[in-house]
């Protein structure tokens, strides 16, 4: 049978040409010292964590087009940027991750001269222990980790102690805890009278034992969907972030949020510029833009977390400004602790404890 031989005999010139153009595609073209950056910005953010019109407003004001990608948790953000910045200009890590990223050299210093609106930041947040002098981060939103619960199932009392979630069968089979080691173990440590950030193995062991004991009452370790479980009646009490509960409280008046009296985590999400950002000038412009009072107000109105922007807070409606679930009273805040980066070894100790809790 005669066979068909297709002949591809590329001339040498063509091979070279093809190779050369392929190489152009593969090499990262050196960025010439452009005085003007292209009008683009890549924003890596949490879901529902920016004002409804903020990105469009920014585009209108500066002509810069913002492309936003979303992540679900800090670990996802960290894992994605760990092997090098894939092209993001602005990210929103939480304080302990800001610290971890500063230590790992993953974020860029911020030029304060380019952000005049920094004066709008609340005095409490002008400086931070995890980032002295705010060299790398701008505070965005802050809040607490607390207890969301259904009022009709809690005999009229306020569920403001970690005891109901961590050390009682009041909500047996109808309660959920968060699904991550650092925060659940941290809150348990707080309940036991230790520091949220304890690295003492004996104290972590104590927390582990309490959680193993409590596990029979826990329906699920929820990955940040406790508010949905609460709203759908799957659980009657859950450990959740305040903003998440406030969002479902608007739809269901039977739900409530309380900051535990033992104290809890005081978290702060910050806006940072990751190292290797392709558009650092635009990123600075964006940071300045969201710190503007009016723009900050638009953001806070959408996402209902406590803004670190004092000028924006002043513009907000009374029911936001005086909401204790958003802005807890000073004496409650005094008992809370910011999460710090506890170091890789301590993270490992907590992770191993968490594995044992899960397997028990």
């Amino acid at each position: 049978m005669p066979s068909f031989h297709p002949r591809f005999r590329p001339t040498r010139r063509r091979v070279l040409g093809g190779g050369a153009s392929a190489l152009v595609g593969l090499t990262f073209l050196p960025r010439f010292a452009l005085s003007e950056e292209e009008k683009k910005l890549n924003f890596y953010n949490w879901d529902t964590y920016i004002g409804e019109t903020t990105l469009a407003d920014f585009n209108k004001a500066t002509g810069i087009e913002v492309k936003m990608d979303l992540y679900a948790d800090n670990d996802e953000l960290f894992a994605k940027l760990k092997e090098g910045n894939p092209g993001y200009d602005v990210i929103v890590p939480t304080n302990d991750y800001v610290e971890r990223m500063i230590k790992a050299g993953m974020v860029m210093p911020i030029d304060h001269a380019k952000i005049p609106n920094m004066s709008n930041i609340d005095k409490k947040f002008q400086d931070a222990a995890f980032d002295p002098g705010r060299k790398y981060s701008i505070p965005y939103m802050w809040g607490t980790l607390g207890i969301g619960y259904r009022k009709s199932k809690s005999d009229g009392s306020v569920m403001d102690s970690w005891k109901v979630l961590l050390d009682s069968d009041k909500f047996a089979g109808k309660l959920s805890l968060l699904g991550d080691a650092q925060n659940v173990i941290g809150c348990t440590l707080k309940y036991l009278g230790h520091s949220f950030n304890s690295t003492n193995p004996a104290e972590i062991k104590e927390a582990e034992e309490l959680l193993i004991k409590q596990k029979r009452n826990v329906k699920v370790f929820a990955d940040d969907n406790g508010q949905d479980l609460l709203a759908s009646g799957e659980v009657d009490a859950c450990m959740e972030w305040n903003g998440d509960i406030i969002q479902v409280m608007k739809e269901d008046k039977d739900l409530a949020y309380a900051v535990p009296t033992e104290g809890t985590l005081l978290w702060q999400d910050c806006v940072c510029i990751p190292k290797g950002a392709p558009h650092p000038e635009n990123a600075h412009a964006f940071l300045n833009f969201i710190l503007d009072a009016q723009n900050g107000k638009n953001i806070a109105e959408t996402i209902q977390y406590a803004t670190a922007n004092a000028a924006a807070r002043a513009l907000m409606a009374k029911d936001y400004q005086d909401n204790p679930a958003i802005f807890p009273p000073e004496e409650v805040i005094a008992k809370c602790e910011p999460g710090i980066y506890v170091g890789e070894e301590a993270i490992k100790v907590r992770d191993e404890a968490w594995t044992r809790i899960q397997a028990a």
Binding site: H5, A104, K215, Q358
Partner: protein, 295 residues
């Protein structure tokens, strides 16, 4: 048949893209992870490959073995349920009228067109306390007038337990079982079945001695195709499982994300891979011994 040597050029041109793809996007990343399993963390972002076995030793801690053991039996149960359900389904499709066959096969494959995550979330809506199953049961309960006898309907706790995880795995991986079974049953020479029945064997005897051995290759491929992804699954136990749901896939995922311990995560995944290779080797050794019997 022509030897590839007659057409070397065609062979290379057609073979290169695939080889390139496998080398760059399969073997290379796998190799990096394998090397990493012998590494140690030197800083927050860096790993040095030092040839240490400490990650593997840590994986033999009883707590990880316990989770692995749980993952194995959950996967075994899910695979067995898949087989039990898929076998009659595959049979029914094979013996359906030819006009129906493509449609029935389409129904089996249809869920694949929707993302796994979405399908799992859909199961949450089906199983939860106020979900469709409980709503349906409650409706029937009220219709039968049972509340007068036994009091109001108590919704079943279907979600956030091992039942939900296994149901989710069965649902997600069912097509992987049906398709290989369908392929072998379709090829089954039905005159063997007729001969067996003509010669006086009962229906059940025919099934056990003729049909089952002849469709064994399909059963084995189906089991492998379902069991291996079940063993490594992390999404299903994460979303549907309760406080005890953690499987080895969740532990591995956590090492790459929250715990930031890639070397340990790599060692755990490779242990899973070694175990799978071992099981496949045992299977091929066993089938090799009996190869004279197979058709």
């Amino acid at each position: 048949m022509e030897s590839w040597k007659d057409n070397r050029q065609v062979f290379w041109i057609l073979g290169l893209p695939g080889t390139f793809w496998l080398l760059c996007f399969f073997l290379l990343p796998l190799g990096i992870i394998w090397l990493m399993s012998f590494g140690e963390k030197t800083s927050i972002t860096e790993v040095a490959v030092t040839g240490t076995l400490v990650n593997y030793l840590r994986a033999f801690d009883p707590v990880y073995l316990q989770i692995l053991w749980k993952s194995i039996w959950v996967s075994v149960l899910a695979t067995a349920l898949c087989l039990l359900v898929a076998y009659p389904v595959a049979f029914a499709i094979c013996f359906a009228r030819p006009v129906w066959k493509p449609l029935l096969l389409l129904l089996v494959i249809l869920p694949f067109w929707i993302n796994l995550l979405i399908r799992t979330y859909a199961l949450i809506a089906v199983f939860r306390t106020n979900g469709f199953v409980n709503a349906g049961l409650g409706f029937v309960y009220d219709l039968l007038g049972l509340p007068a006898l036994f009091g109001p309907f108590q919704p079943l706790q279907l979600l956030y337990n091992d039942f939900a995880v296994i149901a989710g795995l069965v649902y997600v991986y069912m097509p992987f079982m049906v398709l290989p079974l369908y392929a072998t049953i379709e090829r089954l020479d039905r005159s063997y079945l007729e001969a067996s029945l003509d010669l006086g064997a009962s229906q059940s005897r025919t099934f056990l001695s003729v049909t089952l051995p002849l469709t064994m290759p399909g059963i084995v491929s189906g089991i492998i195709l379902v069991f291996i992804p079940c063993l490594g699954s992390f999404l299903t136990p994460d979303l549907l499982g309760g406080a005890n749901a953690v499987m080895i896939g969740n532990v591995i995922e956590r090492q790459f994300k929250a715990a930031n311990d890639w070397p340990f995560g790599a060692a755990l995944s490779f242990l899973l891979m070694y175990a799978t290779f071992f099981a496949l080797a045992v299977r091929s050794a066993m089938s090799g011994r009996k190869s004279g019997m197979e058709l």
